[in-house]
Symmetry: C2
Subunit: 282 residues, 2 copies
């Protein structure tokens, strides 16, 4: 999760946390970071010109992730947060190797929280095709507890449903149950929401699954991991700082930004438009 | 639809028809072309590394379309077919201006067929957000008949449903009716399937709407327009030719290629992998 290359000088401390995602879903991580670390500034970059990453090949997602991380370094990011399960699942080791500041993904924090939550040892994971096919959650969960039993399921329709703003509709409930029902039948007691979009469906999923299944939200746990990292690496912004948020996208925002803004009650201010420059990658 | 720049020499006649789409949906146009023009060779390029185009801005779709068209010209395409409603809706005039061979989109052929089909003069159009927001179908329909009444609706969930392979499920029926029901209530007698993916849902849509509403399939009508163009420009391949099909994608194919292959009964052979080279655009 960290490569420990940061220096922790006073200049670095005031630099922003760089956060990226394929699109706007990573704002769930930003929302958690803003609540937990109000005095930190955040520069968020969503690669909306090439989203989604979730159905694409590992090599393409790796190339895109390195290009976007390079753009965050141009913004003086003191640390890079991969607020995208797909990029965390397939590109984290390349990012850690290439990026000269500490890098945090969402997979290991989510796996840790799932291990802490499960009583039965049977954990479910839902995510995009690329995340599930990578087996990254299984590996992370088994590295923490070799006895754990994992059932994973790709749910490619959930992101488009969320982006359509259909958060509380009977059709959405039906699709959730088509995907998650088989996991429930297998006896999971913990479900990892392995995509940064999914916290926007948290209420619907919780209502459908009832109290016996604990939902683990990668956004929340990733934010805690970033806080721990900043303390460990002596990179926390001064207490007196007022954190700011700058959101940049590679394609102008569509209606989903409104959905996310309302659901997260996040003040994203004016959105910057950036074009990816393919030759600047690390 | 055509810029009439082709020469029609005998060398050109054996060159392939270049077809592109944001992904694999444009294979519905290829399938129609193969049936109508079996002696023509086709080079198909799907920009799967950056799909979908349907939710992205006009300027980004224009840039992508020019890059992909340049790659088709490198393959000696004698004509370029924009087998993507979104690219046809927002980038056709730029393509016609920049590409030195005739260019055919899907919008005008679809509009012509809708005008021919409607009795009531009330036409519905469904498509991606970018296609519907562009107003391209309204403009094309009204240029052919200024009295026509058009109701258009963006259906962003249909493409993901098709790509998931859920072509014949109760949930798919419900989502279709949420989108199309209001158009039916307005009294349309003709519905334009304004996205190259949608012919894969034709059976379900026809079953739900019944016999009184005519479905206009942009794939079929685009193929007829290409045939007319080749005859007009003296670009038809010799009768004795056996047409071939080469499919190239910018990201390795996922499970949707199997869905399309089966639904279209199309022999796509071995898929070539091509990387977009952003600096070669026209």
């Amino acid at each position: 999760m960290s490569n420990g290359k940061a220096q922790g000088g006073s200049a670095e401390k005031s630099q922003p946390i760089g956060v990226f995602d394929s699109g706007i879903g990573g704002l769930t991580v930003v929302s958690a970071l803003r609540t937990l670390l109000p005095n930190e500034s955040i520069y968020y970059l969503g690669d909306t010109a090439r989203l989604p990453y979730g159905g694409k090949s590992a090599s393409t997602v790796q190339r895109y992730s390195l290009e976007i991380a390079a753009m965050l370094l141009e913004e003086n990011a003191k640390t890079v947060v991969v607020a995208c399960n797909t990029a965390s699942a397939v590109a984290l080791s390349q990012l850690i190797e290439s990026v000269p500041v500490p890098v945090t993904g969402v997979i290991l924090p989510g796996a840790r929280a799932a291990i802490a939550a499960t009583r039965s040892g049977q954990v479910g994971v839902i995510g995009t095709r690329a995340t599930i096919n990578s087996g990254a959650y299984e590996r992370a969960l088994r590295s923490l507890d070799s006895e754990i039993r994992v059932t994973a399921r790709a749910c490619p329709l959930l992101v488009p449903l969320i982006e359509e703003g259909w958060l509380e509709r009977p059709i959405t409930d039906q699709i959730i149950m088509q995907y998650v029902g088989p996991l429930v039948d297998e006896g999971i007691d913990t479900l990892v929401l392995g995509c940064t979009h999914y916290p926007l469906l948290r209420k619907a999923i919780a209502r459908l699954l009832g109290d016996t299944i604990t939902l683990v939200d990668s956004a929340q746990n990733c934010a805690s991991a970033v806080r721990d990292l900043l303390i460990r690496e002596n990179l926390r912004a001064p207490e007196a700082n007022t954190g700011s948020l700058q959101v940049a996208l590679t394609d102008p925002p569509d209606s989903f930004l409104r959905v996310a803004r309302e659901a997260l009650q996040l003040d994203v201010g004016e959105v910057q438009l950036r074009q990816v420059t393919p030759h600047t990658h690390l």
